[in-house]
């Protein structure tokens, strides 16, 4: 199975799912499961073969146009296997949600198409093909998002993604101009270290930022993730956003940096070893972390909250990649995995809740743990990983990133990184408390029940993997070392069970077992000690008053109001900026319309006179 064949087959499966979907909505959705599992397994085989040093030629191209070429690189495999896995897991949700869409068959088809697009992006070594598939993913997503709640979200998704694609395209043209070929590696190599390299780097960064939802190109992401159909949010956050990380690696790692930082800032900087471009990206990444965290704290909609957490995690990835070095890069790559798994699991959990309740707003939910305990566990594990608490995968990656930041003495960035980490404690536990704990709401009491097995299955698998990445990271880190070797970066020093950072050694397994013991003890205490008594919603009183109505007494609503008040004036700066930009364009358009389009011929005559006069005036 060559890459080309895989992509073509995926596209065909997409069409099959469309026609199946026309015939029966659910069958069509089942096809998406089959297709994405098929793709995942194929990529898995491919990865296995490549790791074993197989000689099978995956890159052969037979059917596609001549210029389409593919190269199975470690980097591509790394991303592909992660993303196809997320796709495969999420696809199990499709049959349960497909009923609600306006155009279900279209949803199924586009779901598979975006998968095909992702494969193309990761495996091609031709810049035009890269752009082609990049756009393909954008467009597939574009038509899925409005099937959810909001049309506006789709428009802003399109706007930012296209800005990114066009930046990429322009960068491609520059590389093509210098290298004389559309080959990805030749192109990147040819501009490395030159002036054009700077432009390419900036353009690729714009592309990466827009895709990754990093500050200041992040405004689309919460809207799109928050409003997309429930099964598509995890795909967006866990898989498609990672395209940005892929481009970021091209821009930050594969491209030799330009511009010594010291020549730009003189001796005022704390990062003498970094280049200006990398430092700028790192600073923006740090701002992204802070911004995402602050915004996530304020959200009421759990999906939006997770979306902002995705923004913030994108910031971590950018920081890690721009610092580079073996620790930084390894941290970045590991964080990509950790966040993909965690956010997919978290979004799936919330999707499962929303499926039965019809809302994902924290103020309208509560006490779901009673009916959906497994979903609760999944969500718990996911957010622990997101907050970077051992023994989950998020801890390992954050540890590596911290190591890299501290080791390089980047104080400003370190502050942001730590702030983000603490901030994530603040926000990830709010949905936990609001959605799952607390009082069970009467309006959802009857509807809530344990999700069907096929919805639980992917959630459980994801949770197990999150734990696995936290406890035994070394196998994956070994693979990451291969990737880094291909990228020309020194390998991270890892033992059988240890990770060697610059400031010390981490024993993930040991940490995990300590935590495990702690949890075990806590569980035993929980079992042994006297159980708390369950009371009904009415069977309680507050501040000396009896409660007479079954209304929600929510302690997680406006929980951080004091903190929010500190910055609520500034939250809309970027949105306002884009809004203003849009208004400027609209005003300009209106103005031109007003001045040029009347029902009198004099306007045309006037301009004719002016223009002829202008020409002849020049002659005088």
């Amino acid at each position: 199975m060559t890459v080309e064949l895989l992509i073509i087959l995926t596209l065909v499966l997409g069409l099959v799912s469309y026609f199946m979907g026309r015939f029966n909505k659910v069958y069509g959705a089942v096809v998406t499961i089959i297709a994405s599992m098929f793709v995942f397994i194929s990529v898995g085989y491919m990865a296995n073969d490549i790791l074993d040093g197989s000689t099978f030629n995956y890159n052969a191209v037979k059917y596609l146009p001549v210029f389409a070429t593919f190269t199975v690189s470690y980097l591509g495999i790394f991303f592909a296997i992660l993303v196809t896995f997320v796709f495969a897991m999420v696809s199990f949700f499709n049959p349960f949600f497909v009923e609600k869409y306006k155009y279900p068959a279209v949803y199924n088809m586009l779901y598979i198409f975006s998968l095909a697009g992702v494969l193309g992006v990761f495996f091609t070594d031709n810049l035009m093909v890269l752009f082609f598939f990049f756009e393909f993913v954008v467009w597939s997503g574009l038509f899925i998002i409005p099937l959810g709640k909001s049309k506006k979200a789709a428009v802003s998704y399109y706007a930012f993604s296209t800005a990114g694609s066009f930046a990429l395209l322009y960068a491609i043209f520059i590389m093509r101009d210098v290298a004389g070929t559309y080959n990805l590696y030749a192109g990147l190599a040819s501009v490395s270290g030159t002036t054009q390299g700077t432009y390419v780097m900036i353009l690729l960064s714009i592309s990466a930022f827009s895709k990754l939802g990093a500050f200041p190109l992040h405004t689309w992401l919460p809207a799109a993730h928050g409003n997309a159909p429930h099964p598509f949010s995890p795909v967006l956050s866990g898989a498609l956003v990672k395209l940005g990380a892929f481009v970021a690696i091209l821009a930050l790692v594969k491209l030799a940096p330009v511009g010594d930082l010291q020549s730009v800032f003189g001796s005022y900087t704390d990062a003498t070893f970094l280049y200006a471009s990398q430092y700028a990206v790192a600073i923006l990444g740090a701002m992204t972390i802070v911004f995402g965290t602050l915004m996530a704290i304020r959200q009421d909609d759990a999906k939006k909250l997770l979306a902002y957490s995705s923004v913030s995690n994108g910031g971590y990835i950018l920081v890690a990649l721009s610092i580079g070095g073996s620790v930084g890069l390894a941290g970045g790559l590991y964080h990509i995995i950790a966040h993909a798994l965690a956010s997919a699991a978290a979004f799936l959990a919330i999707g499962a809740v929303s499926r039965v309740t019809g809302t994902s707003k924290m103020s309208e939910l509560g006490g779901m743990i009673h009916k959906m305990p497994i979903t609760y566990m999944v969500y718990l594990i996911a957010i622990i990983s997101m907050a970077g608490i051992p023994p989950m995968g998020g801890f390992i990656s954050k540890w590596l990133i911290f190591q890299a930041v501290i080791d390089n003495g980047l104080i400003l960035i370190a502050v942001a990184v730590f702030f983000g980490s603490i901030g994530s404690f603040l926000y990830v536990f709010r949905p936990l408390a609001a959605l799952f704990l607390g009082q069970e709401l009467p309006q959802h009491k009857d509807k809530a029940k344990i999700p069907p097995f096929f919805m639980l299955l992917p959630m459980i698998i994801l949770s197990l993997l999150i734990v696995y990445t936290g406890v035994f990271p070394n196998y994956i880190l070994g693979f990451i070392n291969d990737v880094m070797a291909e990228l020309g970066v020194d390998a991270l020093v890892i033992g059988k069970y240890t990770i060697q950072g610059p400031n010390g050694v981490l024993h993930p397994t040991l940490v995990a077992s300590v935590f495990g013991v702690g949890v075990l003890i806590a569980f035993i205490i929980f079992i042994v000690l006297k159980k708390s008594r369950k009371v009904g919603l009415m069977d309680t009183y507050t501040a000396g008053n009896f409660i007479y109505t079954e209304e929600l007494m929510h302690y997680s609503l406006d929980f951080y109001a004091p903190i929010e008040r500190l910055y609520e004036k500034y939250i809309n700066i970027t949105e306002d900026f884009y809004k203003k930009l849009e208004n400027k364009v609209v005003d300009f358009g209106r103005m031109v319309k007003y001045f040029f389009f009347t029902n009198k011929p004099e306007v045309t005559v006037f301009w004719i006179v002016v223009i002829i006069g202008f020409l002849l005036w020049g002659d005088l």
Partner: protein, 111 residues
């Protein structure tokens, strides 16, 4: 001289189109523009001491200086085309008058 007058008439036509907001006046201006244009075209073909480009009795074309006949031919076409457009414009003016009851564009209101 007539050439300058022709250019000046072109400009007056433009001036009319630029300032007039009466349908009839606009058509008049357009006509002035076209007359200016026709004069200009003919002036381009004029030769001092040339004779009209018609062979008449007792003449041999050898040694005679004719004015350029091609501009005349072009102007013939241009005049007729001009009449066609003017007729159409006037018919439209008639329609406009029937619809709005006025020839003044400013009194018709924005559509």
């Amino acid at each position: 001289m007539l050439q300058y007058a022709a250019i000046a008439m072109l400009m007056l036509g433009l001036y009319g189109l630029l300032t007039q907001r009466n349908v009839i006046k606009i058509i008049v201006s357009l006509n002035i523009f076209e007359i200016g244009l026709n004069l200009f075209i003919i002036s381009v073909g004029y030769v001092d001491d040339g004779i009209a480009p018609i062979l008449t009795s007792n003449f041999n074309n050898n040694g005679l200086i004719f004015v350029d006949p091609l501009p005349s031919a072009l102007v013939l076409t241009a005049i007729v085309i001009g009449v066609g457009t003017t007729a159409l414009a006037l018919a439209l003016a008639n329609n406009i008058y029937q619809k709005y009851g006025t020839f003044e564009i400013d009194e018709m209101g924005e559509e």
